[in-house]
Amino acid sequence: MAKPIELEVNGKRYPVNYPADTPLLYVLRDELGLTGSKYGCGEGQCGACTVLIGGAPRRSCQIPVSAAAAKPITTIEGLEKDGRLNPVQQTFLDAGAFQCAYCTSGMIMSSVGLLQTNPNPSQAEIVQFLQGNVCRCGTHLRIIEAVRQAAKMMQEHGR
């Protein structure tokens, strides 16, 4: 077995023994038990597996685990701090921006990534940014509204 790869996920360090080309998604889910990131297509086409790598939203099904070792990784499980939801989680909850909710983790992670680089996105910018995230239940309009509300909340609270 090759030398363990060390990952930093949600502020904790984990040595993992996986082939270097294994998609990060499988390591997160099957090795670390972080099942909030979902398998939806395995091809980077649906966004259900989105995590933040070095703060940027990435499709974890497309990132080899070896390439994820260099930067800190945040998954949906790492957003809640001391029992307080991240503003995006809170506004998704408040807006009822999910139905089956299988896409929700990926939607939230993409939206968190968007707001980190663009704290006050227009509707068109939200649409553009989330174009790669599939919601089959058709909850798009509430998701857009949740992202707008999160932006507002973060600006009001100076976060």
Binding site: E80, T104, Q131
Partner: protein, 719 residues
């Protein structure tokens, strides 16, 4: 043709791919309290014809069966005051868990938060035929309401006995019984303590009318919302029982292909890999998905393929291969179509084609199977847990009592998760490995080996008088199905027939079944007829409709949409369509913009009015209605399964286009709350009128009539 799907019976309603097996509910009354602890329990017995759909699908008789076989809802009040509702229905994103808990809380007079629902677990919940057909709201909410009312009655009587007063003067509210005369009160928890009291439902219970609902009818947020936004909710693919292996299944090279050469020696030589070949099933299990895939790739298999038709020939094939006899159940004839045509001022004979489409639920088919002492437990995302249980029992030659199917709240289905495919695969591998095994289908497997909404051909020959009155209506549906086949318009001379055709691709139910195809054809045709008679599309509908509920949704949506509208921009177009199905009514208006340079079609705005009787949860309902409208845009504009020689040519999200954020128009949903009408389901009907409304708007913008679904898979230019 290939004979691939000979074993599947064609069901015009297509709720199921095969005949329903027999069912038996095996939890005896004495076992009930063992599971739940002491308290008060009330059961509902299905008596009426509507409820029987949940207990007796197909042609089975339930005569002379004793309780508790056909119980289908119950409520338990524990010694801690916690209330638990039980139903075999599954939560698949339609928000049933919330609306059912609301219903119990409302009728039992307890806070919403104190009610918990146990759903879709064949060991714990009453038998249910499946979560489909918009049945949960009309069937289970009244049943739960009746059991909750009966439970409240027991509690009031228990308090009356305690205080030695007449029950009639006591009030039940906020989880306690109060005597206004003495201001005494007893909590439900106190009344349930030390009791193991079970009661069948009395024949008649006074249930609360919708006008007096307090918790039902309110926009209560979805139960477990926090678990969904934190990623804590565990869907089937997220389960990881100790010692679990990952399974992969060898798929034939094409539909109907048979194995001619096989060598699994390399896979079997791999450490920690289990290889199973059993009849036509070949699968592997290993400690990781990667190892399982590596083992599967190491199996050498050769296949003999059979030639099969492609999507290019499907419509002519369906027409040529229709059964000689139409389905009696859906044949309707009134007056004389020939006379009606002869007397018409304008006649229109047109054909409409509808492509195969995929459900593409974001959670693919998945199952975790575990064998313990010869008994099988399977967690799987299915709409039919009891049918899955019976299929597993059948496949593994077990009594039904040795199989338990549990459905974690599931990442959607849309009619696509009736079968037990992944459950059987996981169970077969788990039996070989002697350990739990999880099988999660890949997206490509989901697009290829699940089942589709059937393709279809619809022919309509019709006539209209000079003043816009329909005179003749001759409607023929080939293969796609009979749901919503009847016209809601008043026509003196009409004939409606459904022509079955043997399955080509594996096909089954899809949100709304064939109502979407039939409404597309009918409402597109109506628009064209109206143009011939020079009658406004809305006026044409109102002129030929007598149903006041359908007229009401049309009028409400027209008002919000601003119909009739003047065009203010080039390429702008407006369209309308309407219909009813399964006790609910819909009218959809669409505005499109067609870009003259690129011929791209953009849906700018949609307004939909929907009425399904008394609204149970307006927030959940709005989500379902808007969701159906957006999902409907996919089948309307660009979704189509392409296939050739038994292979799906676009089994990926990169090649099978589903609606994404950029496709979503401005949407307005108008919910008409009819508290005087029993609540109907809402999962399906809101999708039906989307495609024809958009198509009619495209015609309004371009004078191009699109009679095939999808309408513009590659933009208007290619049409």
């Amino acid at each position: 043709m290939s004979g691939v799907e000979d074993k599947f019976v064609i069901e015009p309603e297509r709720y199921e791919l095969s005949a329903a097996p027999m069912h038996q509910f095996e939890l005896a009354r004495r076992d009930f309290f063992k599971i739940l602890g002491a308290g008060i329990a009330v059961f509902a017995i299905a008596k009426d014809a509507v409820a029987l759909q949940e207990t007796a699908p197909g042609h089975r008789s339930f005569h002379n069966e004793e309780w508790p076989r056909d119980i289908n809802a119950w409520v338990h009040i524990g010694e801690d005051g916690g209330v638990t509702g039980f139903t075999g229905k599954a939560e698949i994103g339609q928000n049933a868990r919330t609306e059912l808990a609301q219903t119990i809380a409302d009728e039992l007079r307890v806070p919403f938060e104190s009610v918990r629902m146990v759903m879709a677990d064949t060991a714990l919940t009453p038998f249910d035929a499946g979560t489909f057909g918009s049945r949960t709201t009309p069937t289970i909410t009244p049943q739960l309401r009746r059991v909750a009312a009966a439970a409240r009655d027991i509690l009031v009587k228990a308090a009356a006995k305690e205080w030695n007063v007449a029950p009639a003067g006591l009030n039940a509210a906020e989880g306690k019984v109060t005597d206004p005369a003495s201001s005494r009160s007893l909590k439900y928890a106190e009344l349930a303590r030390g009791k193991a009291l079970a009661q069948n439902l009395p024949a008649e219970d006074p249930i609360t009318p919708a006008t007096q609902w307090t918790i039902t009818g309110k926009a209560v947020p979805k139960v477990d919302g926090r678990a969904f936004v934190t990623g804590r909710h565990q869907y089937t693919p997220d389960l990881r029982p100790a010692g679990m292996l990952h399974g992969k299944v060898l798929r034939p090279s094409s539909f109907g292909a048979t194995l001619t050469a096989y060598d699994d020696s390399a896979a079997k030589a791999m450490t920690g890999v289990f290889v199973v070949r059993d009849g036509d099933f070949v699968g592997v299990a290993a400690a990781s998905v990667h190892e399982a895939q590596t083992a599967l790739d190491a199996i050498h298999a050769q296949w003999k393929e059979v030639p099969q038709i492609s999507n290019k020939e499907i419509f002519s094939y369906l027409k040529q291969n229709a059964a000689a006899k139409t389905d009696d159940r859906f044949r309707k004839q009134k007056g004389s179509v020939e006379e009606g045509l002869a007397g018409a001022a304008h006649r229109l004979d047109a054909t409409y084609n509808v492509a195969y489409i995929a459900h593409a639920p974001l959670e693919p088919r998945a199952a975790v199977a575990q064998w313990t002492d010869g008994k099988l437990t399977v967690w799987t995302g299915t709409q039919r847990p009891f049918a899955n249980r019976d299929e597993l029992a059948d496949v593994f030659h077990l009594p039904e009592s040795s199989v338990r199917v549990i459905v974690p709240d599931t990442g959607s289905a849309y009619g696509g998760k009736h079968t037990s495919d992944a459950a059987i695969e996981a169970a077969r591998l788990a039996r070989a490995a002697g350990r739990p095994v999880k099988v999660v289908w890949t997206r490509e497997e989901e697009f290829t080996w699940a089942y589709f909404r059937p393709a279809g051909v619809i022919e309509i020959n019709s006539g209209i008088s000079g003043d816009g009155t329909l005179t003749a209506w001759d409607f023929h549906n080939y293969h796609s199905g009979a749901s919503g086949i009847e016209t809601p318009y008043v026509v003196a001379n009409q004939r409606t027939e459904y022509h079955p055709v043997r399955l080509i691709l594996r096909s089954g139910s899809y949100r709304g079944l064939a109502a979407t195809a039939n409404h597309f054809a009918r409402e597109t045709h109506m628009d064209a007829l109206g143009r011939m008679a020079n009658v406004d599309p809305l006026d044409l509908r109102l002129k030929n409709l007598s149903d006041p509920r359908l007229r009401a949704v049309l009028e409400a949506a027209a008002k919000s949409f601003g119909w009739p509208r003047k065009k203010t921009q080039e390429g702008q177009g407006f369209g309308v369509a309407c219909g009813y199905e399964k006790g609910s009514y819909v009218a959809t208006f669409a505005e499109v913009a067609v870009d003259k340079k690129s011929d791209a079609v953009r849906v700018v705005r949609m307004v939909e009015a929907f009425e399904c009787g008394a609204i149970v949860n307006p927030d959940g309902l709005r989500n379902q209605v808007a969701g159906a409208m957006i999902q409907g845009l996919g089948g309307a504009l660009f979704e189509a399964i392409e296939f050739e020689n038994g292979r799906i040519k676009n089994p990926h999200f990169s090649t099978y286009r589903v609606p994404r954020f950029r496709d979503v128009p401005e949407i307005e949903t108008i919910l008409l709350d009819r508290k005087d009408i029993p609540s109907a389901g809402a999962g399906e009907t809101p999708i039906m009128a989307v495609a024809p409304a958009v198509g009619n708007a495209i015609f309004d913008a371009t004078s191009i009539r699109l009679n095939n679904l999808p309408m513009v898979p590659n933009g208007l230019r290619s049409v």
